[in-house]
């Protein structure tokens, strides 16, 4: 969009007006991109912005419908992964592309001519040379399934180097790494571009883009909405770059979009609690901690947060309340005891649970979007009559929900697993917040969602509380809890170690509780 000053001959690969359509969606809309040696070119965009499609076309998995790809200044259709490799385009995909049952060396040898014996000695020398220059260690004879994700990623990068790649594409490569691993990857990318390689680095994290990039292109809903060239990149500080990117991505300037601190609505403390939990306990199992003497209550319109490190019994608490897990103790909904009731009956009475396992237990991936809205009402009128599905009624109501909750789906018939995480979450929100909800348990409601969907989900939860529902919000994201809850309880080892009102000093008090100090 903004590289009129540069001659396209410098580009290793250039995209000109590339468009790719899928049924119901324009994944890439007339995208221009120039990729140069010695540069980390960051492709930044949220889930569904079209980053993966773009990579698919560069790596030969998909072909553009319109526009063209130039390699070394000449138009060159990339028709297969083999051809992409031959052109010097190596890709490290978001999901690891190594055969887990083979050793590292065997994986690196994959792709040689089939009549040849694998040339192990040659490979060893080549890998030693590459890893030495990059300062990394690759265990050639370890089985891939024994390596950590970070190690596997290094193997994939080395593989691209073994294949003499001139352009290395890293697709969401930091998403599965530890913070330490992300730092290492950043340093590794720097060394690679210093050797003259071109890198395309795909991410949806602003901080990484600012920290690792030389040039940033921002994608939004399939279109490229802006580019920050290296000259400008160097002139700006990290904070300025981030705010510029946020402006490109969201069209409005915010310093940190997540920090939008909302005034927390006050709750009528005199009102009778909607949910009362007294001495709830669950026995520990081999792979899950138990719960012991958990007591709290939530009033109408109140959001109670559960903070804590993941795996301290949060899921057990949610499942014990929803009836999916056997527990002792008392649970009262509007004063009536419900601890002996079934999952379905609790849900009918207004206790809803929005699971964190969206595709596993939240939805049936192969069922259409429309049916997934009513999974918990299968067999019930008006959507089923005498055991027969009322398609028209289901589609009518599902259509309303799709509009109301802004679910981006090609059609009501699309299997729900084909949607992005954010849109699946919208389906779940629509289902659990439907008529009759009184108490809603959210388990990590924004986990794995991009920024726009995170903010939208949080707003839904606030709106629900506003309508007078009682909300239990389980999250491992302290910022999220601080921006939404009235009170925050901290969970450790299956019990609540303290409850803090969300006032000015809440952050430090919750933090102290989380690391095991008294608030």
């Amino acid at each position: 969009m903004s590289n009129l000053s540069s001659s396209p001959v410098d580009d290793i690969v250039a995209l000109e007006g590339v468009t790719k359509r899928f049924p119901g969606i324009v994944a890439n809309d007339s995208i221009d991109l120039s990729i140069r040696p010695g540069e980390v070119h960051v492709l930044l965009g949220e889930n569904g912005a079209g980053k993966s499609t773009l990579i698919g076309m560069l790596s030969g998995l998909q072909q553009p419908d319109e526009g063209r790809i130039l390699v070394d200044g000449k138009p060159m259709p990339i028709t297969s992964p083999r051809q992409a490799l031959a052109l010097g385009i190596g890709t490290v995909f978001q999901h690891m592309m190594l055969v887990p049952t083979l050793t590292v060396a065997e994986n690196l040898l994959l792709g040689g001519p089939w009549w040849q014996r694998p040339r192990t000695e040659e490979l060893e020398a080549r890998v030693a040379e590459i890893t030495r220059s990059l300062g990394i260690v690759v265990k050639l004879h370890a089985r891939v399934s024994e390596l950590s994700l970070g190690e596997q990623q290094q193997v994939e990068i080395v593989r691209a180097m073994v294949r003499n790649s001139r352009l290395l594409i890293l697709d969401e490569s930091t998403s599965m790494l530890t913070p330490q691993g992300i730092e290492e990857l950043g340093a590794l990318m720097r060394r690679l571009v210093e050797q003259g390689l071109a890198i395309v680095f795909i991410t949806h994290k602003l901080k990484e883009a600012a920290a690792f990039g030389d040039r940033i292109s921002v994608l939004k809903l399939g279109r490229k909405v802006g580019e920050i060239p290296p000259e400008r990149f160097r002139a700006l500080g990290e904070q300025e770059i981030i705010s510029e990117i946020v402006e490109l991505m969201f069209g409005k300037r915010k310093d940190d979009p997540e920090a939008a601190e909302r005034p927390v609505a006050s709750v009528d403390t005199e009102a009778a609690p909607l949910l009362q939990v007294i001495d709830l306990a669950v026995a520990a199992t081999d792979n899950a901690p138990g719960l012991s003497s958990i007591s709290f209550d939530i009033r109408p319109g109140e959001i109670l947060g559960i903070a804590g490190i993941d795996g301290n019994g949060q899921k057990q608490l949610a499942e014990a309340l929803s009836g999916q897990r056997v527990a002792s103790g008392s649970v009262r909904l509007e004063g009536a005891t419900i601890e002996t009731l079934s999952v379905g009956e609790r849900s009918r009475r207004g206790l809803r649970y929005l699971t964190d396992d969206r595709l596993g237990e939240g939805t049936v991936g192969t069922f259409p979007v429309s049916i997934n809205f009513f999974l918990k009402q299968v067999g019930a009128a008006p959507f089923w009559r005498n055991g027969v599905e009322q398609r028209a009624e289901i589609d009518r109501r599902a259509g309303e929900l799709v509009r109301e909750y802004d679910v981006r789906t090609p059609s009501l018939k699309t299997p729900v697993a084909r949607l992005s995480g954010g849109n699946i979450q919208k389906v779940l929100l629509a289902r659990e917040l439907a008529e009759g909800a009184k108490v809603v348990i959210f388990n990590k409601p924004t986990y794995g969602l991009d920024l726009a969907n995170t903010l939208a989900s949080r707003q839904r939860i606030r709106d629900a509380a506003q309508r007078g529902l009682a909300v239990l919000l389980i999250s491992t994201d302290l910022e999220e809890l601080l921006s939404m809850c009235n009170r925050i309880a901290v969970m450790a080892n299956g019990s609540l170690v303290g409850t803090v009102a969300n006032a000015d000093d809440a952050r430090t008090r919750v933090g102290r509780l989380m690391i095991g100090l008294a608030a």
Partner: protein, 311 residues
């Protein structure tokens, strides 16, 4: 007592076991290759039948046993070609197509047999064994293991060759990758469809050869349903062998002993209903599944057609 366990009886029993094991071995090795590459080849029973029929026809009209093996392998491969087209290239369900092929070939070969051979029931002359010098003179073991047709030794040699193929060659790596993580193979620049097609066609050739052996050497004639589940036993063997050809050999020999035992016990005139005796090999299958079924490890992408870029 002495009658039943005499040297002659034992060596005949073992000889029969080897003869019965060879078709299972070939089928098992073939199935193993398909499964390694991620294709569950239920059609293998049909491929064996095609091989048995065409192998017999080839040998009967040409008078050459070797030509019979060749036509048998070609017959198995022809059926495999259909399987490869439908299941690998187009990506149809492997189980449904496999069953359809097996049922179709059962009917087709029975029909052809009815027209061609049902009046005359022609037989092939007994094959000339290749006697291995000195080894064949060992009592019991000699006549049992070293007086077989040359193809038997070749089949056993194939076990070693397959082991080498899987462990030491590029094609072996490609096959395993096609079964465990086809997408990784694809992005490494190797055509998954082609790799799997090669595997399925090889399976067909091996199964066809096994069928031809069964008809030409084992029985000396062709009758409908002659394979009697040998292909399915091959599937069991391949699943239990964990990708190791040598385990297919051991398994095939074990089943071979059971099959041979049924014949031997009938000949020996033991006073047990024949139906019970004939049940023996299949009881052995169930025993093996109970004992070793848990250690079967199958490729991650087994049975899943590969489609580039699908999620």
């Amino acid at each position: 007592m002495t009658g039943l366990f005499s040297e002659v009886f034992l060596s005949a029993l073992l000889f029969g076991a080897v003869t019965a094991a060879i078709p299972l071995l070939l089928a098992g090795l073939g199935e193993q290759m398909s499964e390694k590459a991620g294709v569950l080849n239920i059609g293998i029973e049909g491929m064996m039948l095609a091989g048995a029929y065409l192998g017999f026809v080839g040998a009967f009209y040409s008078g050459s046993l070797w030509l019979g093996f060749l036509t048998g392998a070609a017959g198995g491969m022809a059926v495999a070609l259909v399987m490869a087209l439908l299941c690998v290239r187009i990506g149809l369900n492997q189980i449904v197509i496999g069953i359809a092929l097996t049922l179709g070939l059962e009917g087709l070969t029975a029909l052809l047999h009815h027209f061609q051979f049902s009046r005359s029931y022609p037989r092939l002359p007994a094959p000339n064994p290749t006697v291995i010098p000195t080894l064949a003179d060992i009592p019991v073991i000699g006549p049992a293991f070293f007086k077989h047709h040359l193809i038997v030794y070749l089949a056993v040699a194939l076990v070693v060759a397959m082991g080498y193929l899987y462990r030491r060659t590029q094609l072996g790596l490609n096959l395993q990758a096609a079964g465990d993580k086809p997408a990784a193979l694809d992005v490494a620049g190797i055509d998954v469809i082609r790799t799997r097609t090669i595997a399925v066609l090889s399976t067909g050739a091996l199964a066809g050869l096994g069928g031809a052996y069964l008809a030409n050497v084992g029985a000396g004639l062709f009758i409908p349903f002659i394979t009697n589940g040998a292909g399915f036993l091959g599937i069991v063997l391949a699943m239990l062998a964990r990708g190791r050809p040598v385990w297919v050999l051991f398994g095939a020999l074990l089943f071979g002993v059971c099959l041979s035992l049924t014949t031997a016990m009938q000949v020996a005139g033991i006073n047990i209903p024949t139906d019970v005796i004939q049940m023996l090999p299949f009881l052995a299958v169930m025993m093996m599944l109970v004992l070793f079924g848990r250690r079967a490890s199958l490729p991650a992408a087994l049975g899943i057609p590969y489609e580039r870029g699908a999620r």
